[in-house]
């Protein structure tokens, strides 16, 4: 079997996910021996338009992004997204809850240093919405996380090469968190999105006593009603709850807009 040709592309993102791959430990780098990387801006200069697997980082923002991602889709046999930006729109997607004008005002007027001149020149602010890749083109697989977990990336590549379904769990972070014998952060007076968030990060945050912010998106059957009740019980206001729900999971974007409209 000839090695599949793989190309990496970045859109609106911090490139942290590509870095997570560049920084893969040596053992995992061997995965890379199983594929031919033909394009990877973070790690190499050459670039080729002939690839089988496209790996996409970042959210879709500008019209030119839409054109570019459609072209990539047409070329690639398999299109995989990496990271929360591509998977869900990323934290930048929070901007969708306000109008471009409101966002402009928030960034440039309320803070010293911003001038009218920058605002007008900055045409990017006139984009109506941040979008996840699968809102624009078909995505064959999404590796979630902000940033992605390098080991999971390697496992997904291996499964792809084996022709096996991708090992991305559909149970909540609590499962990994419990197996890791963490003290539940709820017991420490914090709150956590782990019960509704898709596992696979090996409960990276709660292992360190931090709250899970839900960067991997929701499991396929989240019990958001029960989760909301719990957050309320732990003293969160409706606003706080909504913030938790929307940080990474745009499924609640409309709910957020409605609540803001009602204020």
């Amino acid at each position: 079997m000839s090695k599949p040709r793989v190309a990496f592309f970045d859109f609106a993102s911090c490139e942290g996910c590509q870095l997570a791959i560049v920084n893969l430990e040596e053992a995992i780098i061997d995965v890379v021996g199983l594929i031919d990387i033909v394009s990877f801006r973070e790690a190499m200069k050459e670039h080729s338009e002939d690839y089988d697997i496209a790996i996409i980082e970042g959210s879709i923002t500008r019209p030119m992004d839409v054109e570019r991602i459609k072209k990539i889709r047409a070329q690639a046999k398999i299109l995989i997204t990496i990271g929360a930006c591509a998977h869900l729109g990323g934290v930048q997607r929070l901007a969708n809850q306000w109008t471009p004008e409101e966002n402009k005002a928030e960034v440039y007027h309320r803070h010293p240093g911003g001038t009218e001149h920058t605002t007008d020149a900055n045409k990017f602010f006139n984009q109506p919405r941040q979008r996840a890749v699968d809102e624009v083109v078909k995505v064959d697989a999404a590796i979630p996380g902000c940033p992605i977990n390098g080991t999971e990336f390697a496992k997904v590549l291996l499964a792809l090469l084996q022709g096996k379904s991708l090992p991305i769990p559909d149970y909540p972070v609590c499962v990994e968190c419990k197996k890791n014998e963490n003290i539940c952060v709820f017991e420490l007076g914090k709150v956590c999105m782990g019960p509704v968030t898709r596992a696979g990060c090996d409960s990276a945050c709660t292992n360190r006593g931090h709250e899970c912010e839900g960067c991997r998106g929701l499991v396929s059957d989240p019990h958001m009603k029960a989760q909301t009740d719990v957050l309320e019980k732990y003293g969160l206001t409706a606003d706080d709850i909504l913030r938790r729900k929307t940080t990474f999971t745009y499924r609640y974007e409309e709910e957020a807009q409605a609540q803001k409209g009602g204020e």
């Binding site: 021996g33 390697a154 022709g163 009740d229």
Partner: protein, 636 residues
């Protein structure tokens, strides 16, 4: 009973740590909580702990465990070596009781030899409960003390430890460290310290454990389940932290050489949706309340039925870890009790008792498949392929029609598949529908390729007992696959059976399996046969009926009272067929069904296949309708 000074005990523990033949694990602090973990020194031990986050089950059935390793190129599958032995210090009585339950479970019928090997190499040093946890109710469950299940048991007498020697191995471990025998007063003091815990650890449980069975039986349709389950996060924490929950999942992991790899098991739990999902899209416990109820039923009803003990030791961990606070058995049983005025019967419960680890032995590696080779691969339809397989050891498979095997594709996984050919040949046949990973990989195989086989497992059709009877076979879709083994057996021994009728229904003409054999059924005059398809395009070449299978049942002649109905098909089909047969006057005990469930292990360990308290892989898949109909999860 022996006495050891506190410094003597510390020296004893430090000596155990120095001796590297076994890892020494004990209770340590983790922030404001406690966990079992590797000990660097006796001074880390916190025997004043209340409860640990995870129970010591993590040593006998680890969160992640290697079951076997494989080498695809060499076609080799072997058990992985067991890790070093362990000494676990500070185990409370309720956790000792839980380990005794696990021993019984894992060494029952099919001995899990990996578990046994590991378990034999674990020594348990129990400890009295110095501080009762907030949610613990072991006093009410009778597990605040144990009189066996440990190698050594220490009780803190204040200035010294009383040490009870539970086993010979424990005595040897203590060896010279032991300073002197306890005086009768000291022994009495140790006893009363332990006995005193019960009173402090009852909470307000209002239903005795011996009545859990009865109240659960009476409460199957109680509104409490849904009320509670609506608050459930479906996080599965309650089963993961429970010392008496031991269901697991299995996955294959290939290494970067794309050739070698490991088959692993990891904790799973019945609160998760995927636990009971099968290829046809059916999820047997789709509603959260079904899963929530199953967890309690398993503890209070199913395991007591199957093993004689209540599978809750009152550690209170689930209660602590459930954020919406609905997992606590004390609250749940009190709620159920508040909803009923009925007098509750008591179930006779047997003490768990110690398993004789020395005497237990398996029939060889339970989870390592036998190497086998594809002899013939024959595509039957777009999605179904027949595989004829021979074991590499040259032995024929010894099985009953209706039994199944676990087929392994190294690096991909394992799937339960019914044997489709009649017994008595050197090779056996499987017919597999392409639905997922393993079945996909099988479909890519050709003659000469290697697979792994475990089994045969489960119950088969009673070919002996049914001799002389009239048989009505009703097969729907893939149900014809296991049924064919029995049909062909009957046709091989035609004179031994009475009237034989075969009804077969499938989706459309293209989905029809075994076309050649069906033509043979048409030709034979010693059997009746009809077939039907759900849908059929007008111009299609189809000589059978059109309509669901129940529409052709009245079209054949059989005497319902004197015929055995053999029903195999997807859940949606057997629900209707069984109803029709009953309404036609077939007695319940004349209906034989084969039920499909999610399966992983095939040998009654992983928990996936349970219908209420029945392990389908072990007690089925072939059942008499009369024996399973009272189980609400079987047909509803």
């Amino acid at each position: 009973m022996k006495i050891l000074s506190k410094s003597g005990f510390a020296a004893f523990v430090n000596a155990l740590i120095q001796d590297t033949s076994r890892d020494v694990e004990g209770v340590k602090a983790k922030g404001p909580k406690f966990v079992f973990g590797p000990l660097d020194s006796a001074s880390e031990l916190r025997l004043d702990y209340d409860v640990t986050i995870l129970p010591p089950k993590k040593y006998v059935l680890p969160q992640y465990e290697n079951m076997m390793k494989f080498d695809i190129a060499q076609g080799k599958m072997v058990m992985t070596e067991q890790p070093k032995g362990k000494i676990i210090i500070g185990v409370h009585p309720y956790d000792i009781a839980a380990i005794m339950q696990m021993d019984k479970f894992y060494l029952d019928t099919h001995v899990d030899d990996g578990y046994l090997a590991r378990r034999k190499n674990i020594l348990i040093i129990g400890s009295n409960i110095q501080n009762v946890s907030e949610k613990g109710f072991y006093g009410a469950m009778g597990t605040s003390t144990v009189d066996s299940g440990y190698d050594l048991f220490i009780t803190d007498l204040g200035d010294s430890y009383a040490i009870d020697i539970g086993t010979e191995a424990g005595g040897q471990l203590l060896g010279a460290a032991c300073q002197r025998d306890a005086t009768p007063e000291e022994a009495q003091k140790a006893k009363s310290i332990n006995d005193g815990v019960a009173e402090r650890s009852r909470r307000d449980l209002r239903v005795k454990p011996s009545s859990w069975h009865d109240i659960l039986k009476k409460s199957f349709d109680s509104p409490v389940w849904k009320e509670q389950a609506d608050k459930c996060l479906v996080c599965n924490s309650c089963t993961l932290v429970c010392p008496t929950c031991f269901c697991y999942d299995v996955t294959d992991e290939i290494s970067l050489d794309m050739n070698t790899g490991l088959r692993k098991r990891t904790w799973d739990g019945c609160m998760l949706r995927d636990f009971t999902s099968i290829g046809s899209g059916e999820v047997f416990r789709e509603n959260v309340e079904d899963r929530y109820r199953h967890r309690f039923n398993r503890k209070g009803m199913y395991l007591p039925d199957g093993f004689g003990f209540v599978a809750c030791v009152g550690c209170g961990r689930c209660a602590t870890q459930c954020v919406p606070d609905i997992a606590d058995p004390v609250n749940l049983f009190n709620k159920l009790a508040a909803g009923t005025t009925a007098l509750l019967a008591e179930k006779q419960l047997a003490p768990v008792g110690v398993s004789d680890l020395g005497a237990a032995s398996g029939k060889g590696p339970l989870f390592v498949p036998m190497p086998a080779t594809m002899k013939r691969v024959d595509k039957l339809t777009e999605d179904e392929t027949l595989f004829e397989i021979g074991l590499d050891n040259g032995q024929p498979m010894n099985y009953q029609p209706g039994q199944f095997v676990e087929v392994s594709v190294m690096g991909i996984g394992e799937a339960p598949i019914s044997i489709s050919s009649a017994p008595g040949r050197d090779t056996f046949q499987l017919v597999v529908r392409n639905v997922g990973d393993v079945t996909n990989a099988l479909h890519a195989m050709k003659a000469g390729d290697k697979v792994g086989i475990r089994g045969p497992f489960g119950t088969g059709f009673d070919t002996e007992g049914l001799k002389g009877k009239n048989l009505l076979f009703i097969g729907g879709g893939l149900g014809i696959v296991p049924m064919r083994s029995f049909i062909n057996y009957v046709l091989d021994h035609r004179d031994d059976y009475g009237q034989v009728t075969i009804l077969y229904g499938c989706k459309d003409p293209d989905a029809l399996l075994f076309k050649d054999e069906i033509e043979e059924w048409d030709r034979r005059d010693d059997i009746q046969h009809m077939r039907t398809v759900d849908t059929c395009v007008e111009e299609e070449n189809w000589d059978g009926e059109v309509g669901v299978i129940t529409t052709i049942m009245p079209l054949v002649t059989f005497d319902p009272a004197n015929t055995i109905g053999v029903v195999v098909g997807p859940p949606i089909m057997y629900r209707f067929v069984n109803k029709s047969l009953l309404s036609m006057g077939m007695p319940e005990e004349n209906i034989i069904v084969s039920l499909e469930r999610r399966m992983k292990c095939g040998v009654g360990k992983c928990g996936h296949c349970q219908i209420n308290g029945i392990y389908v892989c072990k007690e089925g898949p072939v059942f008499n309708y009369k024996d399973v109909k009272q189980h609400p999860e079987a047909f509803e």
